[in-house]
């Protein structure tokens, strides 16, 4: 029996493979399992290839998993398009459509001999039982229930609920298709027992959602009352969630005419005194950069979500990457620091988004949430979140005394000035993108510019002291280390557990605050480190370079970086750690040898 199973399924757009994944995850969730589901598509709207990966476990799931335990190919052409996203290994059971005509000993996977290969007449079974090949995905769900013991009743309960609105006949047809799948599995037992251990938490309340919806819900919780944006993959669902819900809380949403107007309207709403947000992906972030500079100099709170996808330009619109760190930290001209936060999972998207609003409002600055396509669109089962544990910070407004002689950009001890908004008597001022004196009046003075830059940059210094924006696990004195953020952090968390189980002395740092770089926190972390890896999905190794720009890194710290849509597997990171350890041991031995 197994505690953890990773399914990877691929087919053509119309095969309903993603909806099968959804049903499987929902059923597993109902049965008390933890689960994560990621989806990956070609960029076609209809047809084309689509796939999903569903990981189900009795323990909390840290990432979508490494090699597949179960691979389902409705046709080989589509399956192979996903390459490293659906890795098959010697431990994988491969199930595929018999109608492909491919013999079981000739499947087109080079250099790998799967644990077991089974051709199933999926389409024929669907046609025979339900009268239509469209029930192929239901047959697949039956096979999974039969072979792996997941979702027997719960799957059909979910499907019935979905289809009951259409017709009872459809429900019955799907039930037959499902039963046929189960029956096939029972009559063709697997060589190894791969059924999942029953969950002990059956019946517990669980949340099931993805990163984009979680981000929007957290923004509403934080008090966001305005969203301005423009549709762009893979961030659009954030705007859609707002459109469904923000009105109920007295707020508004604007699908603007372009990316610039999207952020522009949010800057305006913030100037008007409301918490405001925009969301986009790489191309939109490039377009928004002038407005981000405006929000910085006008000291207006604003949250900008960048759901990263492969770049540059249109790049890989539907695939994940971590290559927007430079753009998030540095785009917009002039001397400016803009905080950048990154969630690592759907669960901590809530906390990260609330934190982004708190930082934006407290420091009166734009803040970027650097999400990525994987977190944005992956579905996770979550334990309920106790929202009362989260503090909400609002911007500092002027007191009656402040308004006697109000100066919007008044120099203060912590460089934060009370901010008025239209409608507030006595608080009128000129906000501007032009450099200004304390009152807001424009200036060309070099000395004022120096002082005002000082104010805007130094006000963010306390952020760098925030230890709670970093997660450090493993032995604090370990000589080996990993650094990873965003969706890659979850892979490294699992790699850490695996490496520790194999006796390696290693630790992991996951920064939620990417910029400004908290120099001291990194120095403390790196103090014991002799060898380590900064793991990231960026060909240029942007994280490694940003760290090197701010810090003297340990000599043995290396970059493990590659382009997006090439997922890291926990196992390969553990292997890399073993390699580092052997290098370390060799260099120690070298030191003990007498010099030649």
């Amino acid at each position: 029996m197994r505690k953890d199973l990773v399914f990877g399924m691929a087919g053509s757009g119309g095969d309903g493979i993603v909806s099968a994944g959804d049903s499987l995850l929902q059923a597993a969730s109902a049965e008390g399992y933890h689960g994560v589901m990621t989806k990956s598509f070609g960029s076609q709207i209809r047809g084309g290839e689509s796939s999903c990966r569903v990981r189900i476990s009795t323990d909390p799931v840290l990432n979508p998993g490494g090699n597949l335990d179960v691979a389902v190919a409705l046709n080989w052409e589509d399956f192979l398009k996903f390459g490293a996203e659906l890795p098959v290994a010697g431990t994988t059971v491969v199930i595929y459509e018999a109608a492909t005509g491919v013999p079981e000993n000739q499947i087109p996977l080079v250099g790998v001999t799967p644990l077991q290969v089974i051709a199933v007449p999926i389409a024929a079974m669907a046609k025979e039982t339900a009268g239509t090949e469209r029930a192929k995905n239901t047959v697949v769900l039956g096979l999974i229930a039969g072979w792996f013991g997941i979702g027997g009743e719960a799957v059909m309960k979910g499907i019935s609920k979905k289809l009951a609105k259409k017709s009872q006949e459809l429900v019955e047809a799907n039930q037959k298709a499902f039963d046929a799948g189960v029956a096939f599995a029972k009559s063709h037992p697997l060589k190894a027992d791969m059924t999942v251990v029953p969950s002990s938490s059956k019946g517990a309340v669980k949340l099931l959602t993805d990163g984009n919806d979680m981000c929007a819900a957290a923004a509403l919780f934080a008090g966001c009352q305005f969203f301005g944006g423009y549709p762009i993959t893979p961030s659009t669902e954030i705007m859609q969630f707002f459109t469904n819900h923000v009105w109920k809380y007295g707020g508004a949403v604007l699908q603007a005419e372009d990316e610039i107007a999207g952020i522009g309207s949010a800057v305006g709403a913030s100037f008007a005194g409301k918490k405001a947000m925009t969301a986009t992906s790489g191309p939109g972030l490039s377009l928004k950069s002038e407005m981000m500079g405006l929000a910085s100099i006008a000291e207006l709170p604003l949250v900008i979500v960048d759901v990263q996808r492969g770049g540059p330009s249109t790049g890989l619109p539907t695939k994940t990457e971590q290559s927007d760190l430079f753009a998030a930290a540095f785009s917009a001209h002039g001397d400016v620091i803009r905080p950048v936060l990154a969630p690592t999972s759907v669960a901590d998207m809530f906390r990260t988004t609330v934190e982004a609003f708190n930082i934006a409002e407290y420091y009166q600055t734009p803040v970027i949430i650097l999400s990525d396509q994987e977190i944005a669109s992956r579905k996770e089962t979550l334990d309920p979140i106790d929202t009362s544990q989260f503090k909400i910070i609002n911007r500092l407004v002027p007191t009656g005394a402040d308004l006697q002689d109000y100066k919007r950009f008044k120099q203060t001890e912590n460089h934060i000035s009370p901010i008025s908004h239209p409608g507030m008597l006595g608080g009128t001022y000129l906000a501007s993108g032009i450099e200004h004196v304390e009152s807001g009046a424009p200036t060309n003075s070099g000395s004022v510019h120096q002082r005002m830059n000082d104010k805007r940059i130094k006000k963010l210094d306390p952020l760098k002291e925030r230890k709670d924006l970093f997660e450090i696990t493993g032995n604090p004195d370990a000589p080996l280390a990993l650094v990873a953020w965003g969706s890659v952090a979850g892979v490294c968390r699992e790699a850490l557990q695996m490496a520790q189980a194999e006796g390696l002395d290693v630790k992991l740092m996951v920064p939620y605050l990417l910029y400004p770089v908290a120099e001291q926190t990194y120095r403390d972390f790196f103090a014991s480190v002799q060898k380590g890896l900064v793991v990231e999905q960026s060909h240029l190794a942007q994280t490694f370079k940003v760290l090197r720009m701010h810090l003297d890194l340990p000599k043995g710290l290396q970059s493990l970086a590659r382009s997006g849509a090439n997922p890291f597997l926990p196992g390969e990171i553990v292997a890399a750690l073993h390699h580092l350890l052997s290098e370390l041991q060799r260099s120690h031995e070298g030191k003990l040898q007498p010099q030649e």
Partner: protein
């Protein structure tokens, strides 16, 4: 809407000294705005005045209000966010012809079709003044400037036809040749419930052509009311607007006699309808519970 009180034009004048050249048409525009605001009587702190970049975009700084001198071409996107975030405010947007019809030209159509209650004042001088005399989107074809030394090869934008064609509910033109008329037109524009556009022919005394100075403008000006134009007649307005550049028609070209509901008013209605039965914010994650 708060109660109106007694205000005078000087109550809207700020302490900042304009950087404009002596004789610049924009001095008259800011005077016209003071007078219009005083006539309407909204207190300065309930007025948000947004501009882009350019000589004329300095105007919020010279007005006592919540001003925002933003980035080039983006007064309207920011102004719409302000109005949607707080529909109670009186929102003005202003800028030059380059700001509005070149770099920011893509926004006007959308503000018009949304019908957000904002008054947009373009100070049109057919030249880029702040960058010292380059061709603008409203410069006449053939005009020589420092970026068109052999004469412009481009046709100008007709701002009046542009906004009329997109369906703006209020379209007018004014000029410093008639300050009282300008104040009255601006007041009528601000009072119009919906997106209102006023093109002000505002001469550039430094880079403008002779014909576009006050004397030249007076020679071609014609009052729309005096010639019996009916501002409810949109097609007649479009007919007259075709003479932009040859004649200077002053007053209201078009005013929708039956103004449709504004976007900001519709938002209020939607908020009121949907606020009932909403989950408290603290329980918003209940939306994700799967049974």
């Amino acid at each position: 809407m708060s109660a109106t009180c007694e205000f005078q034009a000087k109550d809207y004048k700020s302490d900042l000294k304009p950087i404009w050249c002596p004789g610049c048409g924009d001095y008259s525009v800011v005077q016209g705005i003071y007078r219009a605001l005083a006539a309407i009587g909204r207190p300065p702190h309930e007025v948000a005045f947004i501009s882009g970049i350019g000589c004329s975009s300095r105007i919020p700084g010279y007005t006592t209000a919540y001003g925002f001198n933003t980035v080039h071409g983006r007064a309207l996107p920011i102004a719409q966010g302000i109005k949607l975030a707080n529909p109670d405010l009186l929102v003005l947007a202003a800028g030059g012809d380059g700001d509005g019809f070149s770099i920011g030209g893509g926004h006007i159509a959308h503000l018009i079709r949304r019908n957000i209650d904002i008054t947009y004042i373009v100070m049109d001088n057919q030249i880029y003044g702040l960058t010292k005399g380059q061709l603008s989107p409203t410069s006449q074809k053939g005009r020589t400037t420092c970026t068109s030394p052999y004469g412009s090869l481009e046709n100008p934008v007709n701002p009046l036809l542009y906004v009329l064609a997109y369906g703006a509910g209020f379209v007018a033109q004014a000029s410093p040749t008639d300050l009282a008329g300008m104040a009255a037109t601006l007041e009528e524009a601000i009072r119009y419930p919906g997106f209102a556009f006023v093109n002000v022919q505002s001469p550039c005394v430094t880079y403008g052509e002779e014909a576009q100075q006050i004397k030249g403008l007076k020679a071609i000006s014609e009052n729309l009311a005096a010639i019996g134009h009916n501002p409810a007649d949109r097609l007649a307005a479009m007919d007259l607007a075709q003479h932009y550049g040859e004649k200077l028609h002053l007053g209201v070209f078009y005013k929708n006699p039956e103004p449709p509901p504004t976007y900001d008013a519709l938002i209020r209605e939607r908020q009121a309808q949907l606020s009932q039965g909403a989950l408290p914010k603290e329980r918003i994650l209940d939306l994700f519970i799967k049974k």
